[in-house]
């Protein structure tokens, strides 16, 4: 399959641009795989520190409240669904439907970030409170940065959708962005299990 694609790319007179979008998606998937290793590194560091700690939680901290974060988790995870719906609309040519679901997903991401900010402000420990504090803020903060990047990427794709006929033949950028969004969601689920459920 790879062979024939590169063949087509080379043989087509203007094959350069058309093939390029295809490469972008390949490149982006490779990048995502690589990116996931950073999270894997953080996760394993967290596990090692937690398992070997004599006193894991900082003094005065009983544990993390998990009910409200669970609520925000549901919001974030369901935004993966709305992104998928948006993509379906796009593939059927319903541009407004795409925009609506896309915007909804962005909003849900923003709600998640808001919830995160509220939680950060209410916690009784800081980033320097032992290795637990460091891990908590590093993991949630690094993930939060990804959510933010996801929202910004989606905004970019939304803005592109207003260019006439831009998305007529589907858009690699949208596919890449939604992949990224699913990735961010999966990471969060793992993170939630590690931080809140595992105690």
């Amino acid at each position: 399959m790879t062979i024939s694609t590169s063949h087509d790319a080379a043989a087509a007179p203007q094959g350069h641009g058309a093939a390029h979008a295809n490469h972008s998606l390949t490149g982006f998937i490779i990048f995502l795989c690589s990116e996931s290793v950073i999270f894997l590194a953080f996760f394993s560091g967290y596990a090692v520190l937690k398992l070997s700690a004599l006193q894991w939680l900082p003094p005065g901290v009983e544990g993390l409240e998990w009910r409200t974060p669970l609520l925000y988790t549901v919001v974030l995870v369901s935004s993966s669904g709305t992104v998928a719906l948006a993509e379906r609309c796009l593939s059927r040519g319903k541009l407004w439907g795409f925009r609506a679901f896309w915007l909804l997903s962005m909003a849900m991401g923003a709600v998640f970030l808001y919830g995160q900010a509220i939680e950060w402000r209410s916690l009784g420990f800081g980033i320097t409170s032992g290795s637990f504090g460091g891990c908590f803020y590093l993991l949630t903060g690094f993930h939060g940065l990804h959510v933010l990047s996801g929202i910004l990427l989606m905004a970019l794709m939304l803005q592109r959708s207003f260019r006439p006929a831009n998305y007529a033949a589907g858009e690699q950028g949208v596919i890449a962005t939604s992949l990224f969004w699913h990735f961010v969601d999966v990471i969060w689920v793992l993170l939630f299990l590690l931080l809140y459920a595992w105690s």
Partner: protein, 563 residues
Amino acid sequence: MTSSAGVDARILRAPHPVPGAPDNWKRFFTFNTDAKVIGIQYIATALFFLLVGGLLAMIMRGELITPAADLVDRTVYNGLYTMHGTIMLFLFIFPVLNGLNNLLIPCMIGAPDMAFPKLNAAAFWLVPVFGVILMASFLVPGGPASSGWWSYPPVSLQNPLGHLINGEALWILAVALSGISSIMGAVNFVTTILRMRAPGMTLSRMPIFCWTAFSAQTIQLIGLPALTGGAVMLLFDLVVGTSFYRPEGGGDPVLYQHFFWFYSHPAVYVIILPVFGVFSELFPVYARKPLFGYPFVAGASLVIVGLSLIVWVHHMFPSGVPQWMRDAFMVTTMLIAVPTGIKVFAWLATLWGGKLRLNTAMLFALGGLFNFVFAGVTGIMLATVPVDIHVNNTYFVVGHFHYVIYGAATMGVYAAIYHWFPKFTGHMYYEGLGKLHFLLTFIGTNLNFFPMHPLGLMGMPRRVSSYDPEFAFWNVIASLGAFLLGVSIIPFLLNLVSSWVRGAKAPANPWNAIGLEWLLPSPPPAENFEEHVPTVISGPYGYGTGRPLVEHQAEIERALQQA
């Protein structure tokens, strides 16, 4: 389809501005997106930093020529050895290999350029940026980072002056930028190899250099993020005051060692795999025989990738890891000898019964193989736990990895530079100067790095600024070797510059080699084959078989000769 008319049109068209054309120097200082320009930018930058790193090494060897710490202060020595290692790895060997990747991969697979030319240029321009940051760390109060290129905490977290901008912070920043640059490069190389090969070039017909580059870049993609994660935590500990690695806050300094070596051992394979590729390309050309057992050599690269990711604890045998871990990681480390052995034996079988031509490129390849085998057998010794416990962190290890990184990898890089010099500059190099360079390098390398083995066995720790008098003899010899290596660079640079400026004009295929890059004019036009990519009809290295590599090969060669 590639018609003969198409071939003629390509050859006869007025050549694009090419690297090396006298009116064209400016393009090397711009954000150029041509992989061939970027390749030369990488190599030139890397050679500049080779000089810087080499100068630091010579000051170190000057200090070590006597037992006492008398030439420079201990703090300065510690900064020097830290920066020497950092520069040689992140600013010399990685960039120079990325330069070869840029020059060779698109030409070898018949692609017009890399998959993402702008990303490619951005990845390159990060190199001078973090190079400047690293150099600037010599000027900040407190001096450069001086905790070794491993930067193990808690030593690396000690900040005597307490400034926020300190050598260690700049070091972490520079290494992080280097990581980003390498990831950008790796995404590009892997995508290019997977998606932009010429028609007919199946994976099983791809040149070994591309196989090894692909393997090496895969390691970058898997390993580098782990180091980045570990380095982010180190930066937080240093700047914000978290305690990931600080024992007093419940952190674990050994955790950093795991992160560091999870990447930094495979990094050695990132360095040596492309050099294996260079050996596999050069031996068939200069022995006039096909590469022996192509599928095994290609497959061995992938096996090395897999194994390289599960050996890192062998750097930590004395770190207090449990016995079962020592045993398990010793076994995985030993296993790497098997695919590596397959490659070495394949090269020997390629050479056996050949018709060898010992020009400079071939001499460097043979010398590199010699040094690599030596490094390989000392590597097996280091894999076995009890011996490693004795020589770990001694000069034995320093000798071992300098045989790998200078003796094998850098000599392989020299071989590659000489071999492909005519292709990408359009000029032949001077054999006499080249052979002088080889002779000085080969003698210098062995004089410099062999004495480190007896020193390590006697128990001289690495990274020392002073040592007991019983180590003096071998240290003097090593220092003389280091100064000889310094001298060996002179004929090299002289050769590069003078050959490029006034060397004889190079034909398209001066070595009578087989490969897509040799079916391009020297130097190749900006977009290589453009839309006239030949269709590959057989595997590489068909020396002596009379098998054409591509359709219409005779016509292409005739057109190249006429042009």
